[in-house]
Each structure stands twice: as C-alpha cells, then as structure tokens.
C-alpha cells in the first residue's frame, strides 16, 4: 500500500454520488442496499480543477510538517482531507473526473465525442494530450487536443423567443434546430443528451457566461425548434428576442449514468 492508501477509499474505482440520499437506501433483512448513479459532475467541459487549498496540498504531497505548525489538529473542518480524519472524497472525485476525461480525449479519435474509435496517434502524442488537458492555462498547447477542438461549436441557430419558469429556460429557435435525437445508445433508445448551448441574446437572464461554461450548459431537446436549459433566476414570460445559440457537444447526461448498488450485511 502506498502513502495514499486512504485516497483509494475515496476513489474506489467508482464513486458513490456525494448527494446520496436516504431514499437510495433500502433496508433488508441482512443489512441494507444502497443504490446510486454516477456520472461526471461537469458533463460538458474538460477544464481540470485547479483548486488545491493548503490542507489539500498537505494531504496530497505530504506537506504536513510545516515548521512551527503544531496546531493543525485544532482547526480541522469538513473539507480537511487529512487522511487520518477525513477522506476528502469530493476533491478526489473531481480529480478522478479530470483524469478520466483526459484519458478519453487522449485515446479516442477526433474530438473524442460520440465515438469508440481509437486515435491513431502515437503513445507519445497521446501522453502529450493527456498532460495538456491537466495543465495550467499558460502552459496549455492550444494546437492540440483538447483545446484545439473540444469547445468547437457544432452549429449555430437563431433564437426567436425565450422564457423562464422555475429556473428552466425554454428557447424557441427561428427554424428547426436539427438536433439529432437518435444517435446514441441504440439499445436503450434514450434521447441524446450530450447537447449543450451558449446563448447570446444580450440578456443576463438568459445568456450563458462562457467564462464559467466555456462549452456551454446541457440542454434537453423538447421539440424540432425548442430546447431547455437550467439557469437560476426569476420567471420571465415568453419574450421575442434576437440572438443566437451556439450548439455544443459534451460528454452525455443520463445515458452515461452508471447504475450501481452495494449490499451491506
């Protein structure tokens, strides 16, 4: 076992969703069964997290022995990943997600979306892509994956009207948006769920901030000229607007939900 033994308690190959709730637990005669679904926290983009507070750093690189620091036991909190006290699973799951995405992008052909075909790149090229996905901004190579194609716009459609109800925006396009609803998961016949959007209509109630969402936010296609996405804020009645929606492609929503259960006795 390595020094990072307890990190594996948080990783464990797949992860129990951190929002697991009581209704996912079924008591049985022998104990209980826990049901959960796992998916990427960010189903659209590939930007790796850089969050690393001092306590996380202490855990990750063994930097606990800070000169003069003898009071570290007194200020532990729920986010403290000190493995003696807390497994820091949220952070680790974010890191796992980042590495998983980087591997898929490095391994798969093209932009790595919707394909199972492996890239013909050399191992060295794949390693470069993997590391490129995890680099700080100033060291990213914008000419190779993922930064040269992941956030490409698939298509652009004109918007004719928008409305918002209960934090869900409904967009009506000026013409059919032509978003395919049958390309994925042939056996399960699920609706495609990897579409996303960047809306630009000069209205903060609806626009998508590309700083926070560089590859857009997930959408649900609800008709040949309509789709919805989530954005918090007050309700807004249907309003005619002029603007565009850049259609993006992400990783996939419910089609990638990994169903798991764990029986305990």
């Amino acid at each position: 076992m390595t020094s990072y033994e307890n990190s594996k308690l948080a990783l464990q190959r797949v992860n129990i969703n951190d929002s697991v709730s009581a209704n996912q637990i079924v008591n049985t005669n022998d104990g209980f069964t826990l049901f959960d679904q796992y998916n990427f926290k960010d189903t659209m983009d590939v930007e790796a997290t850089s969050t690393l507070n001092n306590k996380t750093a202490k855990y990750l690189i063994g930097a606990a022995k800070v000169v003069g620091d003898t009071n570290y036991l007194h200020d532990l909190d729920g986010d403290d990943p000190d493995r003696r006290f807390y497994i820091g699973y949220k952070k680790l799951q974010e890191y796992l997600e980042d590495v998983t995405k980087a591997m898929m992008i490095a391994l798969l052909d093209g932009n790595a979306k919707r394909t199972t075909t492996l890239s013909s790149d050399t191992l060295q090229e794949k390693r470069q892509i993997f590391l490129n996905a995890l680099k700080k901004e100033q060291y990213k190579d914008q000419n190779i994956k993922p930064w040269n194609n992941w956030r490409d716009t698939d298509s652009t459609v004109d918007i004719s009207s928008v409305s918002k109800t209960a934090n869900v925006v409904t967009v009506t396009t000026s013409a059919p948006h032509n978003l395919d609803v049958a390309f994925i998961n042939e056996l399960m016949v699920l609706d495609p769920d990897d579409w996303g959007v960047v809306v630009s209509i000069n209205n903060t109630d609806f626009d998508i901030n590309t700083t926070d969402y560089p590859n857009g936010v997930p959408i649900i296609v609800t008709g040949i000229d309509t789709f919805t996405y989530e954005k918090s804020g007050s309700d807004v009645a249907t309003t005619s607007v002029t603007g565009t929606a850049d259609i993006k492609i992400g990783w996939g929503g419910s089609s990638n939900n990994l169903h798991i259960h764990l029986e305990s006795s």
Partner: protein, 395 residues
C-alpha cells in the same frame, strides 16, 4: 507493473479494445511522467506546468487506475452493447465486482450509515482515529529514487521480499542494490546522484558526514542552485517555509548571515527535488541571502534514527551511542499523517487526552508500509545495518 487494475465487468469488441489501449497509455504516462510533466524554472513566473492536483506521479497513477471503470462504461454505452450498470436490477451492478468490498464496507461502517455529509465527516473523524494507519513517510524520496534510477520498478504491490534477492549482509549493499546505485550514479539528474550518494553511505554504515568532497562539482552546483532557488522563492513570494534560528542555532554563520530551519514538504521544495532528499534541513545563508551551506541528518523511522544527546548539531559527526532503532521498531505513537513518533512527542495523536500507542512493526508490516527503494533501508535494518548519515555540504 505499476498498476493494480480493476476487473472490468463490460464485454464487447469496442470496450475490450479501449481497455487495452487505456492500460497501455496509463502505463506509458506513469513511466514517462517525471520527464514529461514539465517544470518552468523561472522563480517568479514559472513552476510546474500541471495544475496542482496532478503533479504527483503516484496520485496520477491512482487516478488513472480508478478512472478505467467509468471511461469503459461510457465506451460500452456508446457502442450500444448491453451490460451491467444500466439499471438497478440486483445482480447487474458492476460495483460489487470491482471494488475491494472489505474496504468499502469498512468505510460504510465507519460512516455510521448516516448519509449526511456533516455526520459522515464527524463519524469518520471518530472512527478512523483508532485505525492502524499506513505511515506517510517523510523520506518519500526513496520512492522517487527507484523510479528515477531504473526502468525496472519493482511491483509496489509485491510486499514480500524477493526470495531471489535476499537482504544484503550487515552494512553492505546487495547485488540488486549495488546495481541500482550504479545506475543512480550514472543518472543524468545531478540531484538523483546526490541522493544516491547519501543512501549509499547509509546502507554501507558510513556515518561520516556527506560533504561537498563526496560529490562532483556538478552535483554540488546543482544542489546549491536548487537550494538558492528555494530560498529566493521563499523570500520573494513570502512563502514562510523557513524560520531564522536564534543566534544562528549554534552553526557557524557568515557575518550578517542566517541559519534557517527550512521545510521542503511543500511545492517549492518538491519541485526542486529537495523534499525527498532533505525533508527538513538547516540552510545557512550569507548577508546577501546566498546559500553557503546545508545541514541535515539522514535517518529513517523504519531504519536507524539519530537522537543527538551531546548537543552536537545536524550535519556534525555524532556519537554512535546516539543511534537507535527508528520508532517503527519500538512501541510508538503516530502523528497525524501516521508517521511513527516518540509517544511523548507533542505530535503523537491522542484520544481523550491519552496517546494512542502502537506495538513495534513486524518486518511484513514494514515491507508493506514502505515501498520500493525503502526496502533497502529495511533490509539493512533487518541485519541491524545502516546508520544515519550527517549531511554538511558547503558551497
């Protein structure tokens, strides 16, 4: 073999091809990580190229290992092939077959089956406190050494001593170790050669100080550059990684200079290869902040430790009577990261005000807890060999 891959419960041409390619790439990433991760030497604007969570090769390995299942599942979904993980039918969950269920159940028990994050954190704090933790060694540099000196990393999950490679006799390196050190001494990294020189003295029971005379000029200059870079970064960026020792701490300090007690357990030390070599050390600087000397004692909790009782300073020659077994081999306490420590140390973990003590480690436990090149130290200890090495390098 560096990875302990989970069994993938998905079948089909696409996913099986993907899994093979994934493992090949992951192994390649791990093997080349130290050379390709990237580091910009510019003190003020540079640093590691990778974002902070991904700079440690062992952590990246763990993440790669654990990312295989879900990425395979996505491929399975894209291929449209049926398989486990797509419903809640009992028996079709992939989880049971791919986790170490004992660990997971253990964790759930510790969680108290209270699925509230705050309660989980509280419960874990309480329940993990009595665990027998895996020590996080402050001499992790041995881990890195074996990775840097050879392309034949031992299987880290093979915790048993290699029967074909018996421990060396007292105070001598065995054939495997000798080969490893020979490779280390020919390694292009000057820092690796410095580390190897110190460890060579340790396993051969040469307790005389490692000085600049034991190293080549390239090694000395490189070490100085690394230390100077660290000190400059510490001062320029106000990192507060060093504490000036009152009165020079008894060391001979240039006029107007300072003896600095420094910790390299940080990114500034890690990125310069100092963490794994020195851990903590005294760095002496002149009035202009130029590094003139470094002082340290290289000893091991899982080997021999040096407890100076005669008032001598780190890096000085020492009284052999002050050498004792590391705390791993005695009834010991453990600090918050699991390092064996003196039970009377203020860093020893206490429960309800009482220090939690642990019995001396068995050899198997030691081999289990300390990987790779550290086995050299344990092997030496097994034969009552290996002695601390003072480090006193002047520039």
């Amino acid at each position: 073999m560096s990875f302990n891959w989970p069994v993938i419960p998905f079948a089909g041409t696409e996913v099986e091809t993907f899994v093979t390619a994934y493992k090949e790439l992951a192994e390649s990433i791990y093997e080349n990580f130290l050379d390709e991760a990237g580091f910009d030497e510019n003190v003020t604007t540079g640093g590691p190229h990778l974002k902070a969570p991904f700079r440690n090769r062992e952590i990246v390995r763990d993440l790669l290992e654990n990312g295989l299942v879900f990425s395979s599942f996505i491929i399975q979904q894209r291929s449209g092939t049926p398989g486990p993980g797509t419903d809640f039918v009992l028996g079709s969950s992939p989880l049971d077959s791919i986790i170490d269920s004992s660990d997971w159940l253990n964790l759930l028990r510790k969680a108290g089956c209270i699925f509230d994050e705050g309660e989980i954190a509280e419960s874990l704090r309480t329940n993990l406190e009595g665990d027998d933790p895996t020590p996080m060694d402050d001499e992790d540099w041995l881990d890195n050494l074996i990775n840097e000196i050879s392309n034949t990393d031992p299987d880290p999950d093979d915790i048993s001593p290699d029967p074909t490679d018996p421990p060396p006799s007292n105070c001598s390196a065995g054939p495997k170790q000798t080969l490893a050190f020979a490779l280390a001494n020919a390694h292009p990294s000057a820092m690796t050669r410095v580390k190897a020189s110190a460890l060579w003295k340790y396993v051969n029971c040469d307790g005389t100080p490692l000085t600049q005379n034991d190293l080549g000029s390239n090694e000395v200059n490189t070490l100085k550059d690394k230390l100077q870079g660290f000190m400059d970064a510490n001062n320029d960026l106000n990192l507060q990684l060093c504490t000036a020792m009152s009165g020079g701490g008894g060391y001979t300090v240039p006029t107007g200079g300072t003896a600095n007690q420094c910790s390299f357990y940080n990114l500034a030390g890690e990125s310069r290869g100092l963490r794994n070599f020195l851990g903590t050390a005294v760095v002496i600087t002149d009035v202009n902040g130029n590094v003139t000397e470094v002082r340290d004692d290289m000893d091991f909790t899982y080997g021999k430790e040096l407890d100076r009782t005669d008032g001598s300073l780190a890096g000085d020659p020492y009284d052999p009577n002050d050498v004792r077994d590391g705390w791993s081999w005695q009834t010991h306490g453990r600090d918050h990261v699991g390092n064996p420590v003196d039970p009377n140390s203020p860093t020893a973990i206490k429960v309800n005000g009482v220090v939690v003590t642990y019995p001396p480690m068995t050899w198997q436990e030691a081999y289990n807890h300390h990987k790779d090149e550290r086995h050299f130290v344990i092997d030496s200890k097994k034969n009552d060999g290996g002695i601390p090495v003072p480090i006193a390098i002047q520039f």
